[in-house]
Symmetry: D2
Subunit: 302 residues, 4 copies
């Protein structure tokens, strides 16, 4: 179990099959730097073009097509004192008639106050003078090489992960990705200091990070990303419209309950029907993200 | 402030402009009986046809088109010891390819154990022998007469409410509906003893109830249902696909933050972008339901 | 076979179960007047409120729930010399980003030149000085009482027909509707002098009409509207998104090919896969309309 | 103006930025071979894996990012005597409830009778004994390298073209693609001997072809593919749901009418509102395809 400290010198705007920047063993940890969604690093210097420039790819030894790569998010530390968002609400979340009166898009700067543990607008607006939600760091975009020789823009997402912008991809969560190429080829970036459901202003609070993740190769096959927090398990669907993303996530959860918890389709439905929770990761990117989530307290692991 | 005890003798499968069964004053409380989604009453006698037969309509004096009817849900008491659900997962939440292997639809009976405060399958299935989530009663279908002389099936929903199947329409919540006709004409029914997000088996745990609600007429205009719990405020959108339901709910929340909390479109987006939560009421009915929810702790009432 | 001349004195903005204005026999013809979508009659006097005020309902003797009402469109004669449209393109057909620069909504008047057989803008705009497409009259909104005691706004549509805005609902076409109440209760109105696919400016060329239709009751059951022209048969789906409307129409066509043309599901797919055509009725109303169409030359009637 | 005869020896399942197999000049013609969607060549030998293996990429000299590549489809000649389809109807075009009774997926062989000019099932099914629609060859999948270093599966499509399965991509049509990389990098394949709207069995009649195309570089910028036939101009949108594909195509047509025909947004809407036609390219692939089409007889070229 080695911990690698990797300092990126170039970044990728697509998740594909670029030559790996580092080879790590199953069980290893990587500590690395990520830059923000617009390419600004810890010193606010533009070092890569938009969108969501990725650090990586990392080659995880032993990962083969058909396997699953487990990525435990150990730590997400903002590496500068400010982040930024857009306003107002994104075109995708407004009634079309409300777009007519929408004010023009603007960039706002937020102070990331690590001492207070909060974020706040650098230039407060009327009515939000005291608004300071907690820092809740998350990874906006991460995943592995997609199948079929593809390279997918970091603006979007698919079965291989990508730009999911789901707030539970946070420290303590382990994310699973389906492996399509030898070594998996893992990329990460687009950290957010905070974000509500849906990424409905088109961004979280975008900033640079030092990220620490630990890899494990599982000899099992999944169809869509999965995750586990201290409280919950969840599955992810990425598609448009939201209905289809929800179908992917729900079907994957039904499969998981069968594989690991001994529930056939009927039993899984009895459980899910009473206790399932849906979260909207993003309703902004070309593919939307829906999570299907179940508290682990309801599950009996076999 | 009078409390009326109303015992229904007929039921409605559409929410429209039927003759009111009772006239009540602004501020009055009604205690009444509702039957389950298939028309079974407290003795499990079929007294009305599907779907979702409604008790009502109640005429609330003083309610005029353009007003808002506030309905506080005081109490939802199951009036029999069993409820029922369908299995397996609904066609709307599965990947189309997963429908091919779906087992046939079945009805399951659940015991509603008021002493234990839980629900459990009457005939447990393998892997769920100990599954007993808490009774969490909610109203599946309620609302007021729609605009334009319409009468809408209780299978669906719209700006006037209807079959939203959202689990936060629970005791302690106050729901707001836009009034389109004199007296508002309020209907209610389709109580669930428990239900996860999305009503993904096509039902909650369907049973008969004694329901107690209190009415208040607000001289303000809303476009979509709104609600308030001890912790949160929320807005509702009803439409297909989920994307459109989410747009309605989000736009209504933006308006609400402007009206009551002094936030213009840009400020509202700064708040919502960091703290909004989306809930899926149902992803089963002809119109799906999405709630846009914000914790009241983030709000400064003006 | 009687021809009735009916002159309406009131109109309906919902298709429901109002008292019939006329009872006619199976096989009878009705000649009647319709007013435009905004309620203007042949003299351009406002005689009813929006949207799409309907003439009717007509009670067709012998029609019972489970039957099909066939309505042959014999003649659609504009009853005044002008109609109107909106511009620019509707919010539903533009990329959301293009809504930002959309000019404000305006009403334009078109001359309906029955001698020339064309329509043209009363005040031509630059680049369209010579634009004069042919008069191609069609019925925007017609249908029968929906199931379940509903009354549905004439802004929308469903299995019972309604505001479908499909240009093949034109003279010579026979439309079929599923009957849900005794007498069917048929309504019609919202005539257009011309319209492209999709009703993408939110209107056709809206004007008043004299309409002539002939009724026949079929002792067979359908799920969605169907139609037949000199060249084609077609089925209609009404829903959002377009995908769902297309699914309804396609599934109904598969059923029709089985019932009347001896094709099982596999054979129907071989035929449809090579020769089917899809038309977009409207992509503007609360429910969109898609037609699934097949040339009769491909069919062998059994 | 050179005509190149290119014989491919390898194929691509993603449209990206592979090394070009041939460099051609602006104005040149390429005659080449394509294999069928499953990788079978003219001798029915499997020479490449699914899906839709592409011939190319061709580097067109002078094409620069921001330019448009015009591809005239000169000739599409099936290179073997059979093709194949799937049955029954695809999961994407059926009501979900109709999937339950759907027969299992099967492959059917069609005879491509070049003398008769028709296609027919090799093993006719009951009711289709005489079904022999005309050979109407088309290109299912073609396009240029996408933006941002992406490589997109030939199962799907985007602004750069791809698997659009639109039957008007046929001999005589000129298709336009937005260029994102130097040389454009053009790929083509997936020829169909016949196909209805929507590719609703999941395939056209899939076969190998000899294809002849001629390239021209236009110093103008487009956002989505465009096309021109003898009769019509059309624009393409690729997305899910169909609504979004239609929005892309409609907005692109509005822009085209402004650029080339002097119509501002309001004038374009007056024209499009009365004469537009929508075609469904496919409603099967991960991204659906909608064409917005206008007869050239309505246009006054400036």
């Amino acid at each position: 179990m080695t911990t690698h400290r990797f300092r990126p010198t170039r970044y990728f705007n697509a998740i594909g099959t670029a030559d790996p920047v580092l080879r790590v063993a199953d069980g290893d940890t990587v500590v690395t730097d990520t830059i923000d969604a617009s390419g600004l690093d810890a010193r606010e210097v533009a070092v890569a073009p938009r969108p969501n420039p990725m650090t990586g790819p990392f080659f995880i030894e032993g990962a083969q097509p058909g396997d699953t790569l487990a990525v435990r998010i150990d730590r997400l530390t903002p590496s500068r004192a400010t982040g930024w968002t857009y306003s107002p609400l994104a075109l995708t979340v407004l009634d079309p008639a409300a777009i007519i009166d929408r004010p023009p898009s603007q960039r706002a700067v937020w102070v990331i106050d690590r001492d207070a543990g909060t974020v706040r607008l650098q230039d407060p607006v009327r009515g939000l003078e005291d608004f300071a939600p907690p820092i809740q760091p998350m990874i906006g975009c991460f995943g592995v090489a997609p199948a079929g020789g593809q390279a997918l823009s970091t603006a979007t997402s698919g079965p291989n992960g990508g730009n999911m912008d789901y707030r539970l991809f946070a420290p303590g969560t382990t994310a699973w990705f389906p492996v399509s190429v030898p070594g998996a080829l893992f990329y990460l970036g687009d950290g957010h200091a905070c974000q509500g459901d849906g990424e409905i202003v088109g961004t979280g609070i975008e900033t640079s990070f030092e990220m620490e993740v630990t890899f494990r190769v599982l000899k099992r096959t999944i169809a869509w990303p999965r995750g586990e927090t201290a409280e919950d398990i969840f599955t992810i669907g990425n598609a448009r419209p939201l209905d289809q993303a929800l179908q992917h996530a729900t079907t994957e959860m039904m499969r998981w309950l069968g594989e690991d918890h001994g529930l056939d389709a009927r039993a899984a439905s009895h459980l899910m029907g009473q206790v399932v929770r849906y979260d909207v990761g993003n309703v902004f990117n070309p593919a939307y993200t829906v999570a299907c989530r179940i508290a682990k307290s309801w599950l009996t692991r076999r």
